[in-house]
Amino acid sequence: MLVKNKINSFFRQSFLIICILFACFQSIANENTMKPLINDITKMYMSSMVFIFLNQPLINQKGGDKSSLFGERFLQNIQQTYFAKYNEKFPLEDHLAKRALLQAMVEVMNDNQALIYDDEIGFKGIIPATFAFQLSAKLATKGVGLKIKFTRTQGSIRNKLNSPDKWENSVMLKVIKKPQIYYDENGLLNGKPAIRQFTPLPMAPYCLACHGSPKNNPLNKNRKKSDWTSIDITGFEMENWTMADFGGGVSISIEKSVFR
């Protein structure tokens, strides 16, 4: 009887130790997967914005073959852009969040198909910032615990729906002083534990076409200075930013439950 009890006790203790070890390994594994995942998603998202920027002539042109903007071919182009930008292979589609992001990209372009093929509309309004917002809005409907936002400091946002939340505001204050990627593995998304990352975007010359001063506005090209407009091609008043200004950034949040 005594031997039997000892054996039982041994098994119980062993089981407990295994459980604790398993939980520890699980936690380390989560940490090891969380950061690379959020990095991959950030870079995939930014590659798609770059591709949209590079293809403004194709998007806005009359007629022609625009099939590279849709479906599988669109994704292949994002992959090539990613490789050109980061000089590394496109991440594997080994996580629900990555698959959701790629599918959302295809769906967003499909939503714009009628407009992209409408030869009577010149400027279609599908620019990196609006594409990024449409992507964010699309992802929000997927219920996969992934939120992406292209944002900037409060008071300088054109689309109110891109306004920063408290976490983003506080991070941007730090990022403006010291530009670097800010990672927080103890954040919250919709009140649930989440990992969050803010990646600052340096101001680029193409940003100034809309956000710079009238001299940067392509609509003023070949016009007398007295005829210059301070309204950009999207219909907004230009902000007079310069290359020295803060360019905003990409804020990505992933619910921790997604990693289980």
Partner: protein, 240 residues
């Protein structure tokens, strides 16, 4: 001997009823919702029908699609004359739907092409525009808060009349709860209006079911189909 007969009859009855259940015809009511379901083309050609066929086929039931006008469709469902109804925005608590939407509708504004505004977050551009809207349709906050002159249109056919009035220049723009219905590549209206969207304000569109039995049957099949591919992704890839 008696026991054997009873058992045989019981087995035969069970077999008969199980056969009756598996061979039951599911009636799927559909309403016109281009480009997802388009009554102007053969029903089998519509993307949502193709997707739903892939959901229903593994169920080992026969099914039949019934075209219905929008208003009568919900009555048919509520009175049990159809088993499934799609696509439908949720308007009544009494209607049971699958928990996950089949797709999302994003509202927007339709313009005559020469007056097109591509980015609707530029709400300052609505100043002094005369924008019609269907009186029974809730507006998005961005439009409500703008300084546009908002003009309600009454009646069941308000959406179509509104688009026509926009084409004739009586409105500067018309608010449509789902402009993709009039602005897609296979519609004649595509030639005359262009629509842009209030992204970030989409509403879910569902598949409704008549009772719990159909709910359980269909939801299991839908979840399986979703794991493979969502309808929205299927639709986005339909031409590729």
């Amino acid at each position: 001997m008696v026991n054997f007969s009873k058992r045989t009859i019981l087995v035969a009855l069970l077999y008969f009823f199980s056969y009756a259940v598996t061979s039951q015809t599911i009636k799927v009511g559909v309403v016109d919702y281009p480009p997802h379901i388009n009554f102007d083309e053969a029903l089998d050609e519509s993307s949502l029908i193709k997707y739903m066929n892939s959901v229903l086929l593994p169920l080992n039931h026969s099914f039949e699609y019934v075209k219905l006008p929008r208003v009568r469709a919900t009555v048919e469902l509520e009175e049990g004359r159809i088993d499934i109804l799609m696509p439908i925005p949720v308007v009544k608590n009494t209607i049971m739907t699958l928990p996950l939407p089949i797709f999302h509708a994003t509202p927007g504004l339709c313009f005559k092409k020469e007056n097109f505004i591509p980015i609707l977050s530029a709400t300052h551009r609505f100043s002094d525009l005369m924008i019609g809207f269907p009186a029974n349709s809730p507006l998005v906050l961005a439009l409500e808060d703008s300084s546009a002159n908002l003009i309600p249109l009454m009646g069941e056919n308000a959406v179509n009349r509104g688009i026509e009035l926009t084409q004739r220049g009586r409105f500067d723009a018309f608010y449509h709860p789902s402009p993709v219905q009039v602005y897609h590549r296979n519609t004649p209206k595509f030639k005359e209006v262009a629509c842009s969207y209030f992204h970030g304000y989409s509403t879910p569109i569902y598949v409704a079911v008549a009772n719990l039995k159909i709910y359980n049957l269909l939801n299991t099949a839908y979840q399986k189909a979703l794991a493979n591919q969502s309808y929205e992704y299927f639709f986005a890839n339909r031409d590729n």
